[in-house]
């Protein structure tokens, strides 16, 4: 293979623009300060300070947790299916997945505002007429909530770090043992992942309205998360594989096509899951379930729900439907940016009506953005550091050579297609 670009086994220097680290540091700091200022906001009908910050922080946390967990999921299924096409992409997945422990910082901060966020935390269970509170007390109580949070973060951190550890050891030793180890973690990990993600989504977001039921909630968060992750990765890999980038000649057409196909599939999957959740509640028509969507039809939340139907599903679905659209950066990159906006809207739709039942919180969007920039900036800095600390792709993965050979064929095929097209024109 002559496709090596001379950077094998060398750490990748991710340079998006000169002075990126300084800029990211300042951005993160300014955003964090701005977010902290918002602790003084006192909302109408709400006596607590810091409520807006708590909700915005939760939103930003869930947003970036989506991308980290989505990457962990892609690492797990890569090993489960022993797939060829994603071998060149694996290291970047691992680098993003191992950012999860950094999210414990915003989560720890969030714990300070537990009572403002979660109604059930603030309510006294004994003698309270709220039946749901009693019925769910065995699960929704403060000590168990925090113990569970510690378990989730430990499991994710442990899994992501173990997978990355053996992956880097494979770079050095290239022994079969490393591949088998990673597979073992994947077998166990996929169960642990499913349980922890489902419960985390229920604990942190669904329990905002503790009286509500939805058995689809975990998979609902999962679907939106992987969708956003794929959109993010598509754009990220375009940057990393550009001329002179660390993945030039390593990530090619096949990888982008499959990422695009998965993005398309998860567009449908998310819509399917969200529709199923809505439809069952609508059809059963039981007040303790319907109130959730009744709140979300008030004021501008109605428009937000419509935006989710059309923006989260129809626009990306119809745009990505054609086979060639999935390969066109000019189409997928705007869709990726749109996916970030839609995931933010989707999370707002889930989280914010608790605090702002009257409608979308236009005047406090800046708090959301500050929290997102603060967390996103921190993660971006750590991601660049991770990329700098190891080779940008698993250099001794047994499937890597296969993937690169496949790309050589792809390149030949594109040349063929180009020639055939020109031949027909002349």
């Amino acid at each position: 293979m002559s496709s090596s670009t001379g950077n094998e086994n060398q750490p990748a220097h991710v340079s998006l623009w000169p002075g990126q680290k300084e800029l990211l540091k300042y951005l993160t700091l300014i955003a964090a300060v701005l977010a902290l200022v918002s602790v003084n906001i006192k909302l109408d009908g709400n006596n607590d300070f810091g409520a807006q910050l708590a909700f915005s922080l939760l939103l930003a946390l869930m947003f970036f947790l989506s991308i980290c967990l989505g990457s962990l999921f892609l690492t797990l299924i890569h090993h489960l299916f022993d797939s060829t096409w994603s071998a060149p992409l694996r290291r970047v997945y691992e680098n993003i997945a191992t950012l999860i422990p950094w999210l414990a910082i915003p989560f720890g901060f969030l714990c300070l505002f537990g009572d403002q966020l979660y109604g059930w935390m603030a309510m006294e269970s004994a003698g309270n007429p709220d039946h749901a509170l009693h019925a769910k007390h065995a699960y929704l109580n403060k000590p168990f909530f925090y113990i569970r949070a510690i378990i989730y973060f430990s499991v994710w951190t442990w899994l992501a770090n173990k997978l990355r550890y053996w992956s880097i050891r494979q770079d050095e030793e290239g022994t079969a043992e490393c591949a088998f180890k990673m597979r073992k973690f994947a077998y166990m990990g996929v169960f642990l992942f499913a349980f922890t993600l489902t419960l985390a989504a229920i604990d942190w977001v669904k329990s905002l309205e503790h009286a509500w039921f939805s058995t689809m909630y975990g998979v609902y968060y999962f679907a939106g998360s992987v969708w956003t992750t794929l959109a993010t990765l598509y754009a990220l890999f375009l940057v990393l594989s550009k001329k002179g980038g660390p993945l030039e000649g390593i990530v090619g057409k096949r990888q982008f096509f499959d990422l695009g196909v998965l993005l398309f599939a998860f567009t449908v999957f998310y819509a399917y899951i969200h529709f199923s959740q809505y439809f069952l509640i609508w059809n059963a028509n039981i007040p303790e379930e319907t109130y959730y969507y009744v709140i979300r039809e008030n004021g501008s939340w109605w428009d937000i729900s419509m935006l989710i139907i059309f923006g989260h599903f129809f626009i990306p679905f119809l745009t990505l439907l054609r086979i060639d659209a999935k390969l066109s950066p000019a189409i997928v990159v705007p869709i990726a940016a749109w996916a970030w906006l839609m995931h933010y809207i989707d999370l707002s739709f889930n989280i914010m009506p608790v605090l702002h039942p009257e409608g979308f919180h236009w005047s406090y969007v800046w708090v959301d953005i500050s929290c997102m920039v603060a967390i996103g900036g921190l993660l971006a800095l750590k991601f660049i550091k991770k990329m700098d600390s190891a080779a940008p792709y698993p250099v001794k993965d047994p499937r890597l050579k296969e993937a690169l050979e496949e790309q050589a064929i792809e390149r030949e095929a594109s040349e063929d297609a180009e020639m055939a097209k020109n031949g027909l024109q002349s």
Binding site: F279, L321, D324, I409, A413, S414, M419, A420, L424
Partner: protein, 180 residues
């Protein structure tokens, strides 16, 4: 039976390796032939492009089938529940896009699949009872370990000696003229 004057169908060239037939396909493509095909025991990655083929048109049939299915599903539910025999069930409206959706969705898939299958049949001119190539004994090896390139006589650029020369140069081990 009555075919005293047998009409030729085309030239069938046998190849031993996928690399050989791929290169031959490129040559044939570059010469601008239109009525020719490649037959292999398994799909060869990159062959579509080597032959200069565009993306299949089956997708359009799938899309049309899907749209038809979706519309049919919605119209059917509306007709049955809100028009032909309106009946209030569980305090729900006579028609709502929500409960029509599962039916519309299933019919989208069903008619989309039909569109794919029958579109493929239509584009391949299937079903047909016979194909001239099946008369050629040698061609049976296509289901085992040989690769075949066929240029039809009806191709406007068909020139037997030129094609024989071209394909032999590209590693064809055996070339035969197959009759209709």
């Amino acid at each position: 039976m009555e075919s005293e004057s047998q009409k030729a169908y085309g030239l069938v060239a046998e190849f031993d390796t996928p690399a050989d037939i791929m290169e031959a396909a490129r040559q044939v493509r570059n010469l601008g032939f239109t009525k020719w095909d490649v037959h292999t025991p398994y799909p060869i990655h990159g062959m579509d492009q080597a032959m200069g083929m565009n993306n299949s048109k089956v997708g359009w049939f799938t899309f049309l089938g899907g749209i038809t299915g979706f519309t049919t599903g919605y119209l059917m539910i509306w007709f049955m529940n809100a028009f032909d025999y309106p009946l209030i069930v569980g305090g729900k409206p006579m028609f709502s896009p929500y409960f029509a959706f599962p039916v519309g969705y299933e019919l989208t898939i069903l008619l989309g699949a039909f569109g794919t299958l029958f579109g493929m049949f239509f584009l391949n001119k299937l079903p047909r009872l016979h194909h001239p190539l099946l008369k050629n004994r040698n061609f049976a090896k296509v289901t085992h370990d040989k690769y075949f390139l066929v240029v039809e006589v009806e191709d406007p650029k068909f020139d037997e000696s030129q094609i024989r020369e071209l394909l032999t140069d590209n590693g064809s081990t055996n070339i035969e003229l197959v009759e209709e």
